[in-house]
């Protein structure tokens, strides 16, 4: 339909002769200036602040803050929470994407909206609802206590709140891609005699592996950083139910600002790693998408 191939990124090659469709240079530089100024003010400076404040009292204080027992416990809890929440949402995302993308059924749009729900719910409300369900005054509170099971104010509650908040990430990445890819390849495999699992492992999954990874990376980043929902269900027991973001709040409240920023910079570094991974995987995802669009 167009003379320009769709998968040539417009932005990577310097424009040749585009005088009629170019802005004058000063407009261009003004726009670049505005964009960079905006980003500097709202993005770069805050990022730099984290590291500068962390090192305000020197290297040793920052390092000590990170290896201190409560901090280590917080790091472990954060990792554990992500290690449980992300795979759970991964399995869910794959199942949902399979059902939604490969089949045509009534209520599909409703399901899509429902899957997106956690995205628009305030984290505080996410925590609140689990307190309502599992708290002592809630639905299952008494039963849980009688059986000596702890959900709220213990690790399971934190995991649940994190699962809720990161619920749609993997699904949201997979669904559009799998929809664009259609069912033909899977149907062909079926005709050739493949079983359900074979179709899934050998046809579908390889086609979406980068989008899957992308979704997992996003899900993971959010799981590490969740604050509001976990704050409501945590109980703030030092060394036990404090995740890294909560631990940062505690340090902040104990005048240990350098320490708070030190732990924060750990998370900030993690965020930067996430961005790098995202960037690397994004190119592959774009490739998958273009293949899907062209291949139909």
């Amino acid at each position: 339909m167009s003379a320009i191939p769709l998968n040539t990124p417009v932005a990577s090659a310097p424009p040749a002769h585009r005088r009629a469709t170019d802005e004058s240079p000063w407009v261009r530089w003004a726009l670049i200036g505005v964009a960079l100024g905006f980003l500097t003010l709202f993005l770069f400076i805050p990022l730099v602040t984290v590291f500068v404040e962390a090192l305000r009292k020197g290297w040793e204080v920052a390092a000590a803050a990170v290896v201190e027992p409560d901090a280590r416990a917080a790091i472990q809890l954060t990792l554990l929470t992500a290690a449980i929440a992300v795979p759970l949402n991964l399995v869910f995302g794959v199942a949902a994407a399979w059902a939604i993308a490969k089949f045509d059924f009534r209520g599909k749009n409703v399901l899509l909206t429902l899957i997106d729900l956690p995205f628009s719910v305030s984290p505080v409300i996410a925590g609140l609802i689990y307190v309502l369900v599992f708290g002592l005054q809630g639905w299952f509170g008494e039963w849980l206590r009688d059986h000596d099971l702890k959900v709220i104010f213990a690790v399971p509650g934190i995991v649940l709140a994190t699962v809720f908040v990161t619920f749609p990430f993997v699904a949201r990445e997979l669904i559009p891609l799998m929809q664009a890819q259609g069912q033909e390849q899977e149907e062909a495999a079926r005709v050739l005699g493949a079983s359900g699992w074979q179709i899934f492992w050998r046809v579908t999954l390889p086609n979406v592996k980068w989008a899957l990874l992308y979704g997992v990376i996003l899900c993971n980043a959010r799981a590490f950083g969740e604050f509001g929902a976990v704050s409501v269900v945590s109980g703030h027991i030092r060394g036990e139910t404090n995740t890294m973001p909560l631990h940062i709040e505690i340090l902040y409240n104990e005048y240990q600002f350098a320490a708070a920023f030190a732990v924060a910079s750990l998370l900030a570094m993690l965020a930067l790693v996430t961005l790098v991974l995202k960037f690397l995987v994004e190119q592959r995802v774009k490739g998958e998408k273009t293949l899907a669009q062209d291949g139909r």
Binding site: T21, L31, L43, L47, V124, L132, L267
Partner: protein, 279 residues
């Protein structure tokens, strides 16, 4: 078996529908729907009068004004500047562009609490930026606005970028040959094409800002009637054993969030149709 028979619009040879849909629905119910219903059920224990009083008392209304107002303002700013950023990233070249492009996603990846303390440190009276400003930012509604702008930043950029990238140069060239100057080309050709994506990004940023807690809680003043955001009010009510009051306000926020979500989905469907894809 059950699901296939009831719901499938046309027969499919692919297996696994029941399993996949069954698991999806089960997980969705257990993790999302049933807990969310707890909020509504708790609120139903209130009489209409009590509910109305809980959600319309002056302090609560003041918090709505702040939350919705600041979120709207932040989303608008992000719409304008986010568009400019997307334009610059797609169309122009400068050193470090790739780094800037990757960093736009920082608010997605950075934990909200980290953003919160960093922004507070910056915009307090003695902060790097705060000390140069003649007015107070931290602990005022302005601070809330700043935090919400930060976290909404990537939404507009990321929804507009793909559309700008796919924009066919021929359209612009045609407009130019027909005598349009650059501004006319922009406002009459490019903008209408980008509009659905822009609106979607705006709505996403708005929805995200509404519920935000972690990054705002450090920089907001938390003064009832002035700089108290609605999520904080929910937590405060919770801490006063007023569960029903907390859930009442939560229900108001949930309804607003659902409505927004619906609008966003409609916008995205509109955008997809505009782009020529079948949804």
């Amino acid at each position: 078996m059950v699901f296939s028979r009831l719901l499938l619009k046309r027969h499919s040879v692919l297996p696994g529908f029941d399993l996949a849909l069954g698991f999806t629905l089960l997980y969705l119910s257990l993790v999302v729907l049933i807990p969310l219903s707890a909020a509504f059920l708790k609120t139903f224990t209130l009489t209409w009068g009590a509910f109305w009083e809980a959600v319309s008392s002056p302090r609560v209304v003041a918090s709505y004004r702040l939350t919705f107002g600041a979120s709207l303002a932040a989303a608008l700013v992000n719409a304008v500047f986010g568009f400019i950023v997307a334009w610059v990233l797609v169309r122009y070249h400068f050193t470090g562009k790739r780094v800037v492009d990757a960093l736009v996603d920082l608010p997605f990846a950075l934990p909200t609490a980290v953003a919160g303390i960093a922004l507070t440190a910056l915009y307090a009276q003695n902060g790097w930026i705060g000390q140069w400003l003649p007015f107070k930012v931290a602990f005022t509604p302005l601070g809330v606005f700043v935090a919400l702008t930060f976290i909404g930043l990537p939404f507009v950029v990321r929804t507009v970028q793909p559309v700008l990238e796919d924009l066919h140069q021929e359209l612009e060239e045609a407009a130019a040959t027909l005598g349009a100057n650059r501004w006319q080309t922009f406002s009459r050709v490019i903008l209408p094409i980008v509009a659905p994506a822009l609106l979607t990004g705006f709505a996403l940023a708005f929805a995200r800002a509404l519920g935000e807690y972690g990054s705002v809680i450090f920089i907001a003043g938390n003064m009832p009637m002035i700089s108290e955001i609605t999520p904080l009010l929910i937590v405060t009510k919770l801490e006063q054993y007023d569960y029903a009051g907390a859930t009442a306000i939560a229900v108001v926020m949930l309804v607003a969030a659902f409505a927004l979500l619906l609008i966003i989905n409609l916008l995205q469907a509109w955008a997809r149709r505009r782009q020529g894809q079948v949804s």
